[in-house]
């Protein structure tokens, strides 16, 4: 543990200090070295961002910046107010901003988010308050969104190393913070004490509480007991479904929920799935029918309720609900036409394609990466697929690392995946998945979809862009590269008297607004 | 000694039965005995006749599986059925015990002073200081030099003889009226044994303690005992003053026992073979070292030994414990490496020998081990075990194939054929040792190595095995290295004797010469320490020495 004990021991009993418990973990405090949610949650509290989304909105607005806008197709200009300071008293100028992005690209840490800055050509700081971003492709609508997420946290050039990830202790030691809080006590992945940063000026109000203590837990059941016993005031990410169900019955506690960006889907490998391109009886039409039958048989409602107690909700598209442009094409295209499963529809698809039933299908899931409920989830999916004798499922679980390796090497014909967005934009649910160079590598390749995705990303007009996004969703829903079925909800459980919990599509918990 | 006063111990119709897996074992079948104060009563008898059990019953030290009947009256109290607490009070002041193995009778992690004081403090209020002073005094009395310092030493810092002295001191410290000594000298060398016997004799005269002495060594009996009780199959068959018993044994078993006791008579046995024939074994400057563990210096067990064994000759190898007898025997069989000098066995040089070259010579070599029980694989029948050498050397393809030869061999060692189907544990010690001889002779070897083949056996059994051995040697004419610590046994068998002392040869020559006219000091001491199994002669010798 380090940090100056400046504000003494008084705050431990302080009335308005909020205790937050989480099962997330931090990999690195330095934004150049982390690309995960746990780190982001902490970084959001202590680093400034040029732009951000306001509460309950997905629109990008200036945060630290005074203005932020496209000043040319390839140029995004940000101006800073005068006289900004870091918590340690250093000046916060455009030079810090340039430093931040230059070092992200220079370090390109294997575990860092620098890949999100793929479109950034260079950063220029003509004067102390102006920053100009030069972009590779024109009108990149996702760029401002990127600035609100992982690589967007601005760091102090006097405290961070230009060419290496800076150790957490050094950052805390240098008090190199510029967000609503600075860290005054830091025990890696155990305990972090946040104290309001008086030098913070930005979108959000100054901290409404006297400070926050974040306590990291390993097991959700322990977090659950902790919030139940009053050991923490707020439990945020992640309580299991049954824990939430349990806690909601406790009158001393309040359960808060909001939209979640996390989705679950089944990926089909177009080469190795039944009738896939590299199988002996390759037949694209039959292969599609198989996917359609699966899409028709999945009972999302049952999965949502029975496995997840409603903490995950049915998902009928590729872009989850809550994002601009999200529609639900799968709802009426498959199943009973109203979101429910339909064995008749599935049988019809298979019969039309001339497929003999039951279709043997090898289905894979990862028992350890998406929580222990994956096993239950897939046990249920197996049952749903087999219930009417249309499929003969061979279910297997594989430990995550092996799984990651196998799935991109065409080992699994159909398999489970989940996704958590890098930034809050519909694009993040399309580009990584369906562009030709995608991370699924399931051999899905549709020129039209590819072109449309590129087009929407550079369409400045919001309505026009949303229309394109809708079109993409419909097209993919026809091809069924993947079958999405669940969307996570964000849940926080707090003591009944805690206020100011806002869970919105930014998927960030803003601790500055918490009070009790 | 006459019994005018009350006896120190009075045993009346004592019966002891053990519950075992195989049913009840009647170890003692109703015996009666008296020991007068200041008297030394020896109990003799073959192994398992109930000597130890009887002695232990005096102190109430029998295991829970034992059922005791009759009465054991110790200083007027019947020990049988006494409560633990009363028994505890009796143990020590009224009767004390000296055990056979001094090394195991002392707790290794406490100083000897503590252990002596412990007994004192168990009886009455003795302060630590007093107890210590008393312990020092008694240690001095039993002949431990410099008792003031030695009292704080641990048992392992004493020699075997000293340990036995300490055990005796522990017993004497409580000034008991009876000391029960269960084979107090069996684990000791003859020279040390002589000293301990002297000490016991002094304890009796100085403290007036009665002693119940259990032993199978008739020499010890002749040396120390006033009266002898002979036990046989859990019963006392004869009790008599010692001279009477030796002079005129009444019971048939006693007669047999006395007849079986080997005596040093310096028989004249000449080697009748060809003196110029190539020796079977020839050692020149033989050295054997055991490697030191973990980088410590190697330990030299045998250094610079010369001797030969000619065909058909029996060479007796004698010496104290640890003198290197076994080591030489094992080196001859290729079981211990020769590290210096030369040792030729059956034409093979054993220094730097390769097992493969020696394997052929092995059929000419037999080995008889000391402990007949452990030298047989418990999982094989006797026939299988005796057939092993035949199979190994290709004389037979299977135990069944070898059966005829096995039967012959069994006959040669005077065992019934049917014994071939028994497992080793189903035989008595003497029978096992016969079988061991049969196995060693299976291939008609030229050379036999016998490492104390009879020292685990009762005298009467020993006599029979030795007789058999002699007969077989004459019949088959093998050369033999006969290792023993008993000079009388050597006297019985060997053509020549080698006396070993601390890994070196003290003296060697024809048996009659070495035993009859020893030149070396050490040999003389060895012979002088050997108690003669004849009370009259032993008394004379003792008188002469004093």
């Amino acid at each position: 543990a380090s940090g100056d004990g400046g504000n003494g021991g008084g705050d431990a009993g302080g009335d308005n200090t909020i205790l937050v418990g989480t099962t997330d973990s931090v990999t690195h405090l330095d934004p150049a070295g982390s690309y995960d949610n746990g780190s982001l949650t902490l970084q959001t509290q202590v680093f400034p961002y040029l732009v951000n989304t306001a509460e309950n909105s997905t629109e990008v607005v200036p945060d630290l910046a005074e203005t932020a806008e496209f000043t040319g197709p390839n140029e995004y200009t940000v101006t800073l107010p005068e006289g900004l300071k870091w918590a340690n008293g250093n000046d916060l100028t455009s030079s810090d901003v340039k430093f931040t992005f230059d070092r992200q690209l220079a370090i390109a840490d294997p575990n860092g988010p620098s890949s999100l800055l793929f479109n950034l050509e260079s950063v220029e700081a003509p004067d102390d308050t102006t920053v100009v971003f030069h972009l590779k492709s024109e009108n990149d609508q996702t760029f401002p969104m990127v600035l609100t997420s992982f690589p967007g946290a601005i760091v102090d050039e006097e405290s961070f190393a230009a060419d290496a990830v800076t150790p957490d202790e050094d950052i805390v030691e240098a008090n190199a913070f510029g967000g609503p809080y600075s860290i005054t006590d830091y025990t890696f992945n155990e305990l972090v004490e946040l104290t309001p940063n008086e030098n913070y000026q930005g979108l959000h109000e100054p901290a409404a509480n006297d400070g926050v203590i974040i306590n990291y837990y390993a097991e959700s059941s322990n977090l659950k007991l902790a919030v139940q016993e009053g050991e923490v005031d707020v439990a945020y990410r992640s309580l299991s479904a049954s824990d939430v169900a349990d806690l909601s019955a406790d009158e001393n506690l309040a359960v808060h929920d909001g939209p979640g960006g996390e989705i679950r889907y089944i990926v089909f490998n177009f080469n190795t799935q039944p009738y896939g391109a590299s199988t002996d009886e390759a037949d694209p039409a039959k292969a599609l029918a198989v996917r359609q039958a699966v899409a028709s048989l999945i009972d999302r409602e049952a999965l949502s309720e029975d496995v997840y107690d409603g903490t995950y909700t049915p998902l009928y598209s590729y872009v989850p609900q809550g994002f601009a442009g999200a529609i639900e094409p799968l709802k009426d295209m498959y199943g009973d036409g109203d979101g429910g499963p339909s064995a008749e529809a599935a049988a019809q698809f298979l019969a039309d394609a001339g497929i003999e039933t039951p279709v043997p299908l090898a289905l894979q899931y990862s028992p350890d990466h998406y929580g222990p409920s994956s096993a239950d989830e897939y046990a249920m999916i197996e049952q749903q697929l087999e219930a009417d004798g249309l499929f003969d499922v061979t279910l297997a679980g594989t430990e995550w690392v092996q799984y990651s390796d196998d799935r991109v090497n065409d080992v699994y014909p159909a398999y489970q995946l989940g996704w958590f967005p890098d930034y809050s934009d519909a694009d993040n649910y399309l580009t990584p998945f369906f562009l030709q160079e995608n991370f699924l590598v399931n051999h899905y390749d549709d020129q039209e979809v590819n072109d449309l995705i590129l087009q929407q990303a550079s369409t400045p007009d919001t309505a026009e862009r949303e229309a394109l996004i809708e079109q993409i969703q419909t097209l993919v829903a026809e091809d069924l590269s993947t079958v999405p079925y669940l969307q996570g909800a964000q849940v926080a459980v707090s003591a009944a008297d805690v206020e100011g919990i806002v869970l919105d599509a930014s998927f960030k918990l803003r601790m500055a607004s918490l009070t009790r | 000694m006459s019994t005018v006063t009350d006896p120190a111990v009075e045993i009346r119709d004592l019966q002891i039965t053990f519950a075992t897996d195989g049913g009840d074992v009647r170890a003692v079948t109703g015996i009666s005995l008296d020991v007068a104060p200041g008297e030394v009563l020896a109990i003799v008898g073959e192994s398992g006749s109930g000597k130890t059990v009887t002695a232990r019953s005096i102190l109430g030290l029998l295991p829970e599986t034992a059922r005791v009947g009759g009465a054991v009256i110790l200083n007027g109290t019947d020990v049988v059925g006494l409560s633990r607490e009363r028994l505890r009070a009796l143990r020590g002041p009224d009767a004390a015990m000296i055990f056979q193995e001094p090394m195991t009778a002392l707790n290794p992690v406490y100083t000897v002073g503590w252990q002596i004081s412990e007994g004192l403090r168990a009886h009455g209020d003795v302060s630590k200081k007093e107890a210590r002073a008393r312990a020092i005094e008694i240690l001095g009395k039993v002949g431990i030099p410099d008792p003031e310092t030695r009292i704080d030493h641990y048992p392992h810092q004493f020699s075997g003889g000293q340990k036995q002295r300490i055990v005796i001191a522990q017993a004497l410290a409580l000034n008991p009226s009876v000391i029960i000594a269960d084979e107090p000298t069996t684990a000791l060398d003859v020279t040390v044994q002589a000293e301990i016997l002297d000490l016991l004799r002094r304890a009796r005269s100085e403290f007036g303690t009665a002693i119940v002495l259990i032993t199978h060594n008739m020499g010890v009996v002749a040396d120390l005992a006033d009266r002898v009780a002979v036990m046989y199959h859990g019963d006392i068959v004869e009790t008599a003053p010692v001279r009477e018993l030796f002079a005129a044994p009444q019971h048939e078993y006693t007669q047999r026992l006395l007849a079986a006791v080997p005596r040093l008579e310096v028989a004249d046995r000449a080697y009748t073979g060809d003196p110029d024939a190539a020796p079977v074994v020839e050692a020149k400057g033989l050295e054997i070292e055991y490697p030191g563990r973990l980088g410590r210096k190697p330990f030299r067990a045998v250094g610079g030994v010369d001797f030969t064994i000619r065909p058909g000759e029996v060479l007796g190898l004698v010496g104290e414990s640890g003198s290197g007898k076994t080591t030489i025997g094992r080196a001859m069989a290729g079981l211990a490496p020769v590290t210096g000098g030369s040792l030729r066995v059956l034409g093979t040089e054993m220094n730097g020998m390769r097992e493969r070259e020696f394997r052929k010579a092995r059929r000419e070599l037999g080995f008889v081990f000391q402990d007949p029980a452990s030298s047989f694989n418990p999982m094989l029948t006797l026939a299988d075990a005796i057939a092993e050498p035949l199979i190994v050397h290709g004389e037979a393809s299977s135990p069944a194939d070898a059966r005829d030869r096995v039967d012959e061999l069994l006959e040669a060692v005077q065992l019934p054929k049917a014994f071939g189907d028994r497992f080793p544990h189903e035989l008595s010690g003497g029978q096992r040792q016969r079988a061991s001889l049969a196995r060693a002779l299976a291939l008609n070897p030229q050379l036999l190595i016998a490492d104390e083949p009879t020292s685990a056996l009762d005298v009467s059994v020993q006599a029979r095995v030795l007789e058999l051995f002699q007969e077989l040697q004459e019949r088959f004419g093998f050369a033999c290295l006969f290792i023993t610590h008993d000079l009388a046994v050597v006297d019985l068998l060997a053509h020549r004797v080698v006396v070993l002392h601390r890994g070196e040869i003290a003296e060697q020559g024809p048996t009659a010469q070495v035993l009859g006219d020893p030149q070396d000091d050490y040999t003389r001491r060895l012979i002088a320490s050997l108690p003669v199994p004849d009370p009259v002669e032993q008394a004379a010798r003792r008188a002469a020495r004093a």
């Binding site: 923490v232 160079e437 | 030290l61 002041p93 641990y154 030191g292």
Partner: protein, 362 residues
């Protein structure tokens, strides 16, 4: 557990067997050689772990396999140097170790720092567990030996078996169910309440061993809080070892009670109580001490499960997390440390046994 009990006679014999012809200076030579023997053990373990970890996959795939395209992954793996020939990586690693550099974890923590931070926690847990084991195991073991073959003995033995038949995590769950959920008298997880943790972390040079740190704050409330958190993990892990101790002590005391020198002491009228308490106990202790060394390895293994069950942020818990993340460097570092601890404990225990046994002292 049970296997260590069977190993007991073997190890029990060894110090005594080793005494041989050892004199004063050779005892020190023994100590030295015994000490040098630690190194091959550690070397073998580190090498084994190095090779094993490389077979199980790399940390980049583990972290980002569900997010990046294969090309991007490949690039990052390349950048981290994980696709170089094994032998190169191995030599580099061994070289690093020799210079005292244990590397950094994938999340940039110096491994030495991880070891220091979490080592204290595991040490503390092991300490409490050993206390429970000693306090429960040894007296009850002696009692069982004294009551041999009576009902009390049977009950104690069944208790011992029960102790090591119960997996620590099950014991942990049951303790939690009863004391945290139903009775609500003990905290369910963690090493201290967050606020207390914050305070005791504030003292100068915290040791990371909360009990010590809490004492140093001088605030009894903190100490009580820390102790309350330690009760259940200590018991869950300690009972396991207590069962082993109980059985060991019983067997060894009974074995010692059968030695002739006990009979000899009995024949001198020493009371039965003193026989057990004095004459048999100390000789019986020597083999027990040797086995305690072996116990440490098991305790550390059990620590993984206990720490997981009770959120006890120690090395065991970190190890299983790093293992899941395929963080080679971290796993190698932790295993090397565990190996050192186990080897050192065994060494120390052997030496203690050699010194306690007067047969080898001079």
């Amino acid at each position: 557990m049970a296997d260590t009990a069977t190993a007991a006679p073997e190890t029990a014999a060894s110090p005594a067997a080793r005494k041989g012809a050892r004199g004063g200076s050779s005892l020190w030579r023994y100590v030295l050689i015994r000490f040098l023997l630690i190194f091959p053990t550690i070397f073998i373990l580190v090498t084994t772990v190095f090779l094993m970890m490389r077979v199980t996959g790399d940390p980049i795939t583990a972290a980002l396999g569900g997010q990046l395209t294969p090309a991007q992954l490949e690039e990052r793996i390349e950048a981290a140097g994980y696709n170089r020939p094994l032998i190169v990586q191995y030599l580099e690693y061994i070289g690093q170790i020799f210079t005292g550099d244990f590397g950094t974890t994938i999340d940039g923590q110096p491994v030495v720092g991880v070891l220091l931070r979490y080592g204290g926690a595991t040490l503390e847990l092991a300490f409490y567990a050993l206390i429970v084991a000693f306090v429960v195991g040894i007296p009850l073991g002696m009692l069982a030996a004294a009551l041999r073959d009576r009902w009390g003995d049977a009950v104690l033995r069944v208790f011992a078996i029960l102790c090591y038949a119960t997996p620590v995590f099950f014991a942990g769950l049951i303790l939690k169910l009863v004391f945290s959920v139903w009775l609500g008298v003990l905290p369910s997880s963690g090493r201290a309440s967050p606020r207390v943790e914050l305070q005791i972390g504030r003292i100068d040079n915290p040791t990371g061993i909360y009990t010590i740190d809490a004492i140093r704050t001088g605030n009894p409330a903190y100490l009580i809080d820390v102790l309350q958190h330690a009760i259940m993990p200590g018991i869950a892990l300690g009972l396991l070892t207590a069962g082993v101790f109980l059985r060991l002590v019983r067997t060894n005391v009974i074995g010692t009670l059968a030695m002739p020198y006990i009979d000899a002491a009995r024949s001198r009228g020493v009371s039965e109580y003193r026989l057990v308490r004095k004459h048999a106990y100390k000789p019986a202790l020597i083999p027990i001490i040797t086995v305690i060394g072996l116990q440490i390895a098991m305790l550390l293994g059990g620590a993984v499960l206990t720490e997981t069950t009770f959120e006890w942020m120690g090395l065991g818990y970190q190890l299983s997390e790093y293992l899941k993340a395929r963080d080679y460097v971290a796993v190698q570092g932790i295993v090397a440390l565990l190996a050192v601890i186990v080897a050192l404990t065994n060494f120390i225990v052997d030496i203690i046994a050699a010194f306690i046994d007067p047969r080898v002292r001079y």
